[in-house]
């Protein structure tokens, strides 16, 4: 990428613009601006890809401001190429460090527009697999669940009221770009949300260490329906079928799902623990559950 003719790199870490960007590390700053930070090549690359797709489709911008060092763009020709479609300003490392929440944003940082997906938007596309985080508190856990949902091909991720802000910089980093891969609905009212999901035809499964239904049992029944049909493996009309459209509920990392949340589910499903461990962390449990559904739905 030729930077000849570009304006000089921003070099004053105390400039008003720098302070404005830095405020996006805090929740009130994000709410006021309707923007959030994506830091580092991995997140910014996915933001820029979505930005380009949206631009081609005439949609809303994803990246409102892009800041990078010349060195970073020299080092990463793919980023430099993607950056051409975004409002880029070159900046020094000191400016980026002052803008960023991380110690080192690795030479690139984007100010992104907060998305406004709603549950209705999600449902209008006929989703088959949805992950619902119920009061998950840790940004790293929330990011891991979102990344697992993306890998498993989930159609959306929902976060109920009282969950961590998925747009906080630590959560954004731990999604490793997946935040830009699928719709994320935040501030969901749990009761209304579950009713709406069920009305749209999704089975609501609660991931619950004490659940009466064993996930391996469900996987075996699903595999048997594919591999040995007619062998009476359907488990009855009331049993959960992993290949059906499904919303998984994942609970708070310390307390799990509340009694009310469990009661709202169609089935409570336990991930088997084969060793001595007493529980799984929420990211691990979500991975196993979402992959079990994805496999059942896609290997048909």
């Amino acid at each position: 990428m030729s930077l000849a003719g570009s304006p000089a790199a921003m070099s004053n870490p105390r400039a008003d613009r720098v302070r404005e960007v830095a405020r996006l590390a805090g929740r009130s700053g994000r709410v006021r601006a309707g923007q959030f930070l994506a830091e580092g090549p991995q997140s910014v690359r996915e933001a820029l890809r979505l930005h380009r797709e949206r631009a081609a489709a005439g949609g809303e911008p994803v990246v409102d401001q892009l800041y990078a060092t010349a060195e970073c763009l020299d080092r990463s020709p793919d980023l430099a190429e993607l950056a051409q479609g975004a409002p880029l300003r070159l900046a020094t490392d000191a400016v980026l460090a002052a803008m960023a929440d991380t110690v080192t944003p690795q030479g690139i940082l984007a100010v992104c527009r907060m998305p406004h997906a709603t549950l209705d938007d999600v449902l209008s596309r006929g989703p088959r697999l949805v992950a619902v985080m119920c009061r998950v508190q840790d940004p790293g856990n929330a990011g891991t669940v979102l990344r697992a949902a993306d890998a498993a091909g989930a159609d959306a991720v929902l976060l109920t009221e009282g969950s961590v802000d998925i747009f906080n910089p630590k959560a954004v980093r731990s999604t490793a770009g997946s935040l830009f891969h699928l719709p994320v609905v935040t501030g969901l009212s749990f009761g209304e949300g579950v009713d709406t999901l069920r009305a749209a035809g999704l089975a609501v499964l609660a991931a619950d260490g004490y659940g009466a239904t064993d996930l391996d049992e469900l996987q075996d029944r699903s595999a048997a329906r594919r591999l040995a049909p007619g062998a009476g493996n359907d488990g009855g009309a009331a049993a959960a079928r992993l290949e059906a459209p499904t919303a998984w509920l994942f609970g708070n990392e310390a307390a799990g799902l509340s009694d009310a949340e469990l009661a709202a589910a169609d089935h409570r499903v336990a991930v088997p623990l084969y060793g001595v461990a007493e529980s799984l962390n929420v990211g691990t449990a979500a991975t196993v559950c979402l992959y079990a559904s994805a496999r059942a739905q896609r290997r048909g």
Copy 2:
């Protein structure tokens, strides 16, 4: 628990003993002392359980020193009961804070003896499922893989030379007690280790995003052998069978497995990515792979 007659709580955060314990947060301190720190109720509880089991069997102690506040023991009767089998000293919050690597060790901390499991010890027990971390660098990732291995009922976790020190306090915390549930062998020489595992009858599978073998395919074949035997689902003599004794190789989080590591494996197996995500984090990949093996081995 009655604390009547106990010596007074340690209250001087600058005492020599406190400094000695605090040195265990650093690698050189751990190597010199042959000890490491377990902080907080979850880790300490599992350390004390193993300590009690070992004592009952006449084995080596696990907990060399135990420090707790009276409040913590009052709050957690199960911990107080377990603590009776260990060399307990009461201490103030200030003393615990000075000893600990965490901001708050939540009132309890144990100095544990570094275990000395060897690959020969592990193999002498006829393991069926082993996780090998190859140069994994992040303590949180290493802890997550270890916890997933425990949940999946793995028989051991091995870490090759150049991996993060699993006894560093952050790694210990992220294992959530699983460090005390299964043998952990560190400093493994990769080449020798793989040869030894294979000679002991374990298939060596590399988790590799670019692997030619699809994990779902292996799971389907394994399920078919159970559910529809005789249907010609064996995939040929050379195909990997998930139900066979297996050692999984998991690579460095940034670079994955090296070419040499991949070449040493019997099969390179990819976890399918159903969505837009380009990769899985190592904890997520390990969870999917280890659970796939555990399911195939245990649902027979």
